[in-house]
């Protein structure tokens, strides 16, 4: 990959990746930070980066891992903040998206990651499993529980639907 190709790839993939990472982190600044850092590492380690056939997936993996490790570090802090601050009322996206972000934030991190990778980034259950280092069965359980929890959080209209634990089995 030449410098120009890298720059073009960066310009094209950066917005998409920040959107995906936002769904996972629920924080714009955080999403930008980890995606940017992942790009720096990609150029720093071009060999391993280019050996991978899916450069965008490589970046996303690195960014997600960065977000996870940051999340671990700040988990305690976040817990404290949540106790003291009223829920964020971000203007901008429609109310259903605010609700979705809020609902995603309530999920345990492992469930949220599985949901985002599977439903947003189109990874198969097996890919999610290898990405997160968890057994396939565990990933399926996380997806199913995550979906159930989201449905519950996302208001009465969707909660009215029966949570089809079996029917919600993933491909």
């Amino acid at each position: 990959m030449t410098e120009d190709e890298f720059d073009a790839f960066y310009a094209a993939a950066f917005p998409r990746l920040t959107g995906q990472l936002y769904a996972f982190t629920g924080d714009h600044g955080e999403a930008q930070d980890v995606v940017q850092e992942a790009f720096v590492r990609a150029w720093d380690r071009r060999k391993s980066f280019l050996a991978d056939n899916a450069p965008e997936a490589w970046i996303r993996t690195v960014a997600v891992r960065l977000a996870v490790s940051r999340w671990r570090r700040t988990r305690r802090w976040l817990e404290l903040m949540r106790k003291h601050l009223p829920p964020e009322s971000t203007p901008g996206p429609g109310p259903e998206h605010t609700a979705l972000v809020a609902a995603l934030r309530k999920l345990p991190q492992a469930q949220r990651l599985a949901i985002v990778l599977h439903h947003l980034c189109d990874l198969s259950v097996e890919q999610v499993a290898s990405e997160t280092g968890a057994p396939v069965g565990t990933v399926k359980a996380r997806l199913s529980r995550g979906r159930a929890a989201l449905a519950q959080h996302l208001g009465p209209d969707e909660a009215d639907e029966p949570v089809r634990k079996e029917g919600g089995r993933v491909r």
């Binding site: 960066y10 950066f14 959107g19 769904a23 990609a42 150029w43 720093d44 998206h97 439903h119």
Partner: protein, 227 residues
Amino acid sequence: MSDELTRALRELAAQNETPPTVAGTQIRSLAARRTRRRRTTLALGTGAAALALAAVALTLNTGTDTGPDHRPPAATPHLTSPAPSPSTSGSPAPSPSASGSPAPSVSAVPTAIIGTVDFEKHTLTIDGRTVPIAAGSPTLLSAGVMTVTAKLNLDRDSVAALPKTACKTADPHVVELRDTGRTSIYVGAFSCSDDSGARIRLDTKDAVWLYKSLKPGDVIAVVLSQA
């Protein structure tokens, strides 16, 4: 639910896409800086390993280094004694105060190895700068370390190993090193009629640089050729 969730998540992601805040070139220069930093760390690590190796080699060498004159090992004398003056450097003697006692605690590794003379690659490295050895691969040397014992000026000092009749000097500045076996090695910009013996020849500018870089007491690691 799954499809709805996928759709909702996609919309959410699409709405929260952010354009890059820094240009691709900046990303690359950041990465390049990091690569350099990592290389430096690696080099330092290698240096530390070389130091440890040299320390081991020194320990092993001095185990058998109980010559008749009971001089301390090459690496230790000038840490405690002043540099020999040029006038006496024709036969530079290590610190007289230590002459009676054999090697003190050898585990007290010489303060710092500041360079390497590598007869495998024919290079000499001091403070990160590497220069080629133009000629000379002394056979008398043992692997381990050498200590700078004197800085000589051939216009002033006469050195038995560099007779004026046989050696032409491009620059009078010569550094004398000694290994643990008390063998003297001379480094400078000279060419002698025979290229054997205890001499390492450098380019003139390299020889001047070396003369300025080293001071008596400095310790240099020696890597011998495998041949």
